[in-house]
């Protein structure tokens, strides 16, 4: 029954989007983390989505191909009294753009909702299929 494949595709999308949401949460909560276990300020992270191998019907799910570090320059804040300030009085802050992350979060949650909706539709179709001839 290939309607079950829709469940697979929808769940792959849901797990990918939840991973994206996870990364957004990490970025937002570390938006002001000036140091870490490596001694450097937190660098923003972004997920990279890629298409899974298509099934014979040409339909394919989605997966997270990797989490990459944001290459944009770190934010420099002049704060001479800060313990992490360099000799010029600048503190290196994370390169997380809070507005970007909020937009990212909204997009991820909408996509997640879409997948849930898709699953519900498919579920009702399957249930209807089981009533054939009754």
């Amino acid at each position: 029954m290939s309607l079950f494949n829709v469940f697979g595709i929808a769940s792959s999308a849901m797990s990918a989007q939840s991973q994206r949401l996870n990364v957004v949460a990490s970025n937002l909560s570390n938006a002001d983390s000036v140091t870490s276990s490596t001694g450097e300020a937190y660098r923003g992270r972004q997920v990279v989505f890629s298409t899974l191998q298509a099934n014979p019907n040409g339909a394919s799910g989605v997966k997270v191909a990797g989490v990459v570090h944001d290459a944009s320059p770190m934010r420099q804040v002049f704060e001479p009294k800060h313990p992490m300030a360099d000799k010029n009085g600048y503190v290196t802050m994370p390169n997380v753009n809070v507005v970007d992350e909020m937009v990212n979060m909204m997009s991820a949650s909408r996509s997640y909702q879409n997948s849930v909706d898709m699953m519900n539709t498919t579920k009702s179709l399957l249930q209807k299929t089981l009533t054939i001839g009754q």
């Binding site: 290939s2 298409t51 339909a59 879409n114 054939i132 001839g133």
Partner: protein, 136 residues
């Protein structure tokens, strides 16, 4: 009469198989709405169904030409066969993704409704036969 039922069911059998295949394609489009360079796919339902009814054999199997019986025939065992088309984007995006969410969701709902309709037709067909068979 039974022959007529068989013919009718055969039609709906093909229609449902195509609807399921299309549902899968549309769900893959929605799932990949944020994947860079993903190209949305769909089928032309009417022409695909026509082709299925015309061939009316094993589900339009795409096979390789083999020159020796020992060759492995890697046939694509697909319901949709070679009917899958790429959607032409109305508003292409910068990352090469051609999924238009409004369009995909509308088609998804439309396809689901028509699947439902096909099932209703099958049920009605059965009901008619049952009615005809009952002696009152």
């Amino acid at each position: 009469m039974i022959n007529k039922l068989d013919k009718e069911l055969n039609f709906h059998h093909h229609a449902l198989a195509l609807r399921v295949g299309r549902q899968e394609l549309l769900s893959s489009n929605v799932a990949n709405a944020d994947t860079p360079n993903f190209k949305a796919k769909d089928i032309d339902f009417a022409s695909a169904l026509n082709e299925k009814l015309r061939l009316n054999s094993s589900f339009g199997k795409v096979t390789l030409n083999t020159t020796s019986p020992t060759h492995i025939n890697a046939g694509a065992n697909s319901v949709l066969g070679d009917n899958i088309l790429y959607r032409i984007p109305l508003q292409p995006s910068v990352d090469g993704n051609t999924v238009d969410m409004d369009m995909e969701r509308t088609r998804f709902a439309d396809n689901a409704l028509k699947y439902d309709a096909s099932i209703s037709f099958i049920n009605n067909e059965f009901r008619n036969i049952m009615l005809a068979m009952q002696e009152r």
